[in-house]
């Protein structure tokens, strides 16, 4: 079974600085998808970024980028120029290729605190 590990229960960053959240996963599949979701206190799960395993290029979305290391099974999220609105719980998630359904396996989450 696939597992997702987030080893940092909590992280802090100063406003305008950069922070990296770690995620590792375990799978025997070669084709899969990885996601980072953000959950602010409002509870709404928001997709931050998505990476297809077959793509070598790291995904980026504005201030958010990933470092995808397929051989190491590592998928970290870098947040640049951190803002107060980035404070939230961040979940790393794994999904097998589409023919196995769209079930997501989530990590335990990392609470990100942003200091002004």
């Amino acid at each position: 079974a696939q597992t997702v590990t987030q080893s940092q229960p909590e992280m802090s960053v100063q406003e305008a600085e950069t922070v990296t959240l770690s995620c590792t996963y375990d799978t025997s599949e070669s084709d899969y998808y990885l996601f980072w979701y953000k959950q602010p206190p409002s509870r709404q799960m928001i997709l931050v970024i998505r990476q297809e395993a077959y793509k070598q290029q790291n995904a980026t979305e504005n201030r958010f980028s990933v470092n995808f290391q397929k051989a190491a099974k590592s998928f970290s999220l870098k947040i640049s120029d951190s803002q107060l609105g980035d404070a939230a719980m961040y979940f790393c998630a794994y999904r097998r290729s589409w023919e196995y359904g769209n079930k997501l396996v989530f990590g335990a989450g990392t609470i990100l605190r942003v200091k002004s």
Binding site: Y37, R50, F91, R95, N102, K103, L104, A108
Partner: protein
């Protein structure tokens, strides 16, 4: 992206009663899911809601406790039956559209006394 709404947003219920949570998507989605999330914890998948057929449950979850309906491509319900305080949690629905990305509803916070 798909916009997903849930009703109710929160409820406080008595032990032994049942609560039905509704999930509405603004566009057709191929798959819908129900998750449970304890406060401060990660999400655990309860089941996949299949249109016109019985839901597919994950290990540890059964139809008698969490009956699910999905009468069409944009609507699903989850019932939490014969509730106990251990069922106090946040329940989230999600849907996957043509972009293959999973979008989530805002969740329903359930407290069982």
């Amino acid at each position: 992206s798909a916009v997903i709404s849930q009703k109710p947003s929160r409820d406080i219920c008595q032990r032994g009663t049942s609560l039905t949570i509704q999930c509405q998507v603004d566009s057709q989605v191929t798959m819908m899911f129900w998750y449970r999330q304890q406060p401060g914890q990660s999400l655990t998948l309860i089941a996949t809601a299949n249109q016109g057929s019985e839901a597919t449950y994950e290990s540890g979850f059964v139809i008698d406790k969490f009956p699910i309906s999905r009468p069409n491509l944009t609507f699903s319900t989850l019932t939490v039956s014969n509730m106990s305080p251990e069922d106090s949690s946040i329940y989230l629905c999600s849907g996957t559209g043509i972009t293959d990305t999973q979008y989530f509803g805002p969740g329903t916070r359930l407290t069982v006394l």
